[in-house]
């Protein structure tokens, strides 16, 4: 070991001060190199101190054996509608492996698209985009390529309809479990809070009541949403190529979607 713990600590303190000074003066390249020095010093400090004490066992959850796309697929299958990464992670957390992390999903859609382009329909399913009424990919939503086209496109009412649907699906799944996890109950409560009549303000949600309330509101939007989605889906099938039908078209003009 080249430096004593004390000396390392002094060095770390000094480097931190320099880094902050550089950041403040927006001397970015200097800050970058100082940060590198700092990281190395901290690592050395970590190593030095761990030589003195044993490393405790990690409490990380067991990594899942399923690949990420399988886990996402599982969550989407439960939800039955296009969903944002956050919700996918929450569902996975509540019902399945609990090993998904938001950042792991960011490049998923791009990877799937690449795979589809190089070898179309080679896989049984693709994790694809949901399409807006402009036929462009909706930001941040994941869908399942095996779903019928009407489910993979969005009208203005669809975000709400899909939210209500997914709440019902989560509640239904809960009723099937003999001993649901607290995380699952919390997920349902959080979703139900935003549906009128689905939950008492702070009490845990009752799946049966949540389903009834969500269905009641769904009744209100269902017809209009189905009509709008059918219209978008029809346009998609007549105007788009195969890959675009799954991953969306680039936006061309502003007026087409608005009218």
């Amino acid at each position: 070991m080249s430096e004593s713990l004390d000396a390392l600590e002094r060095r770390i303190t000094g480097l931190r001060a320099e880094v902050r000074r550089a950041v403040k003066a927006r001397e970015n390249s200097l800050a970058r190199s100082l940060r590198g020095d700092l990281r190395r010093a901290e690592k050395a400090w970590d190593e030095a101190i761990s030589a003195e004490e044993p490393v405790p066992a990690s409490h990380e959850p067991e990594p899942s054996l399923l690949p990420i796309r399988e886990q996402v697929h599982q969550a989407l299958a439960l939800l039955g509608v296009p969903a944002a990464a956050r919700l996918v992670v929450a569902v996975n957390d509540a019902f399945f492996s609990r090993a998904l992390r938001g950042p792991q999903l960011t490049s998923l859609r791009r990877d799937e698209e690449r795979s589809f382009r190089s070898d179309p329909y080679a896989r049984p399913y693709y994790l694809c985009a949901a399409l807006t009424d402009r036929l462009s990919p909706a930001r941040g939503l994941l869908a399942d390529s095996t779903w019928e086209p009407e489910r993979r496109v969005l009208g203005p009412l669809s975000p709400r309809v899909d939210f209500l649907t997914s709440t019902m699906r989560v509640a239904e799944h809960l009723t099937r479990l003999p001993d649901p996890s607290p995380a699952a109950l919390r997920l349902l409560s959080r979703m139900a809070q935003n549906i009128p009549g689905a939950v008492e303000s702070f009490a845990p949600a009752d799946p049966a009541i949540a389903i009834r309330a969500a269905r009641a509101e769904l009744e209100v939007h269902h017809a209009a949403d189905t009509r709008q989605r059918a219209e978008v889906a029809a346009r998609a099938s007549s105007q788009l190529s195969d890959v675009e039908r799954l991953f969306g078209a680039a936006t061309m003009s502003t007026l087409r979607g608005a009218c």
Binding site: K24, A25, R26, A84, R86, L87, T132, R134, S136, A138, R139, P156, L157, S158, P159, R160, D162, F163, S166, M191, Q193, N194, P196, E217, V220, H221, A224, A250, T251, S253, T254, L255, G257, A258
Partner: protein
């Protein structure tokens, strides 16, 4: 006039004003230096940095993360949280749930798409969305177009638009920090004005944009959002006043020397080549009106404070002290009057008498 302003800024694009910057115009309108820098679209932050007086503003990553997480929470699932809040606050009917993400078009189309969507909403009340997420507005500031990004625009049955402002500071037992609410209100007023301007351009009644903005904040110590209506009529009045003032910047231009410029003369990599000394001298050609409040509102504050120190100005001690000294602007002068080493000039007799008495009292009590 614009030519002269371009000359002041130098050959770089005008620094865009975001809503926060526009709202800050009202912070110290009496300051000619700031008014001119803003009107010319000079990047004050870079300028202050270059003359060696960076502003002491910074934002913690914790605060930024918190803000982003909270905004995402409010908007997730088609603004499900926001929908609940508006149903409670504005009595939104259950059938009104439409959601449009303006950002679904490419960035270059967002502004025109916003216009088209808002126009459609204003024309037909049927089958329009309630939420317009990521809209992009524009506003003319002293001859330059500034683009503004409100959090959400809500369109309610009954034909009224509401600006939704999402902030991550807490509302605890119905109250939030008044300064933060004021900041949010000023910012929201900019969006209200921009949307009203847009409606007027499209031939609709601008008053269809409500002056009640919806402020969404976390409630108490949790993440659960709560919404409050904030009346921004006063902020709107102030904003209009300040924007009107900016068009009168020609009065300020009259007094400044020929050829004056705040050009940083950036090289090909954008690194300033202008001598800091020279730039500082140029800045000093336009009088500032420094007050300690500037320390929390203006990028130039450290530079102006240093200048006020150099001049021995009573501005350093705050507006109240300055007022208490009855218009005596120099510290040495005020002390001289107090200690009787300086004869009062015409019009200073009274304040001199007051300071002299104060000085005698201090001496008597501290003897």
């Amino acid at each position: 006039m614009n030519g002269r302003l371009d000359e002041l800024r130098g050959p770089v694009p005008s620094h865009p004003h975001d809503a926060r910057a526009i709202a800050a115009l009202a912070a110290n309108p009496g300051c000619a230096r700031r008014a001119l820098l803003d009107a010319a679209g000079v990047d004050k932050d870079r300028t202050a940095r270059h003359v060696g007086f960076p502003a002491p503003f910074g934002q913690s990553q914790f605060a930024i993360t918190r803000g982003n997480v909270f905004e995402a929470l409010v908007k997730e699932n088609g603004c499900a949280e926001l929908l609940r809040l508006l149903r409670e606050l504005l009595g939104l009917p259950v059938s009104e749930v439409g959601y449009q993400d303006v950002e679904n078009v490419g960035a270059h189309l967002r502004h025109s798409h916003t216009r088209a969507l808002i126009d459609r909403a204003a024309r037909e009340s049927e089958e329009t969305a309630v939420f317009y997420d990521h809209p992009l507005f524009s506003l003319e500031i002293a001859g330059h177009t500034s683009y503004l990004e409100p959090d959400v625009v809500a369109f309610q049955l009954g034909g009224r638009f509401h600006i939704v402002e999402i902030k991550s500071f807490g509302v605890i037992d119905g109250q939030a920090e008044p300064q933060k609410v004021a900041g949010a209100a000023r910012q929201a007023a900019v969006y209200v004005l921009a949307l009203r301007t847009l409606l007027a351009e499209l031939g609709h009644d601008p008053e269809r944009v409500s002056h009640d903005v919806v402020l969404v904040c976390p409630e108490n110590f949790a993440n659960r959002p709560t919404a409050t209506l904030v009346d921004v009529r006063k902020q709107l009045a102030v904003l209009r006043r300040q924007l009107a003032r900016m068009t009168r910047v020609d009065r300020l231009l009259e007094g400044i020397p020929e050829g004056l410029t705040f050009d940083l003369a950036p090289d090909r990599d954008g690194v300033p080549t202008r001598s800091a000394q020279e730039l500082a001298e140029a800045l000093c050609q336009v009088p500032a009106r420094y007050a300690p409040d500037c320390l929390s509102t203006c990028d130039m504050c450290m530079f102006c404070r240093d200048e006020a120190r150099g001049n021995g100005s009573t501005d350093l001690l705050g507006r109240q002290v300055r007022d208490e000294l009855g218009g005596v602007s120099g510290m040495a002068e005020a002390l001289g009057l107090a200690e009787g080493t300086l004869e009062p000039a015409e019009g200073q007799e009274e304040v001199a008498r007051l300071l002299r008495t104060a000085n005698l009292l201090r001496e008597e009590c501290l003897r």
